[in-house]
Subunit: 189 residues, 2 copies
Amino acid sequence: MLGLLSFGPELSGYEIKQRADSTLRFFWFSPAMSQVYAELDRLERLGLVTSRRIPGPGRRRTRRFTITEEGEKELRRWLAETEVEFPVIKHSVALRLFLGHLAGAQATRTMLDSYVTQLTSRIEELRAIREGLGDDPHFRYPALVAEWGQRYYEAEIAAVRDLADRLDGGGDRVAAPDGSAGGDQLSDE
Amino acid sequence: MLGLLSFGPELSGYEIKQRADSTLRFFWFSPAMSQVYAELDRLERLGLVTSRRIPGPGRRRTRRFTITEEGEKELRRWLAETEVEFPVIKHSVALRLFLGHLAGAQATRTMLDSYVTQLTSRIEELRAIREGLGDDPHFRYPALVAEWGQRYYEAEIAAVRDLADRLDGGGDRVAAPDGSAGGDQLSDE
DNA sequence: TGTAGCATGTAAGCCGTTACATGATTGA
DNA sequence: TCAATCATGTAACGGCTTACATGCTACA
């Protein structure tokens, strides 16, 4: 959240959540709305952000937040002083592949296919985000992240397709005279 | 944990943690020891695992767990009926790149380099695990996961190297007469 | 004889979630 | 006039972690 505020403009809790949904979500996690407000209160108590209430149109009130100098200093300190932690992945597709002996080769292939579909639309999302960032040097790094993301998922698609092919050719099927109906080792398929 | 037990042999809580550290950890997460025991109790109450106490050498006692038929059924049901969730990544390297405007291009490059080093040893770990699995058809799917992992991280290295190159060539440096000392826009570098 | 590894657990607490509650504004 | 969106929060709770507590065995 400090990072999102470090790009400059003061943001409401609601807007922070939106930015998180459109950027952070792809490589970190997007906090729940309730968490956003709770965390903003905490950051303000710590002096890392300040807020002011702005009268919206009509009777509407908005609280907008800005990162303080101390907040930015703290963020820089974190970037400079902490070790790079290796990415943590919760990869349900890998888990399912790992348990292929339970689902069977056929179901595992289907699962991989549906993952490829999801990957394709994820790449499209990233493409749109990258496009929205334009050439603005202010967003140079976010743009790099978006480009990285697209490449990352393209490599994932290639790897998954390869895996699916290897499942086809693998030794897990019962040999059948014609090529079409080799059964799986599992009875429920 | 049910998945780890689904490979057959009965395991102690301690062994489950070890298996998790050497396999699950790469694509899911490895629960804390305390969590392992708590969860095993819970799974036993639910009838998804059973345990028996085995006298070890001397006065030592071990509790070994086996997945029950119901546990395996439940696991198969989960695999078959739930939607594949898209992988969730907590990628601190991407976050740091995203915040490149705070750390500066130079520090960001250094950070990417150290990530490449970590990736290299991660690939080595996976290579060793893959080798340990051998050709045993029992571990066919875990072997596929290990191979996938190696390929995955190799693609990551290529992408990160590419990013680092683009940071070198990028417009973020102040032009310098000789090529060696282009300063960053940040004063603390 | 002491340290690393095997082995099992309890207690406290953090970080995040979902569910619930409220209300204004914009535009179809 | 009604739904979508903007906007802010509280309460309950789940899942996982760290810190703590205990004790045996193998081996250098």
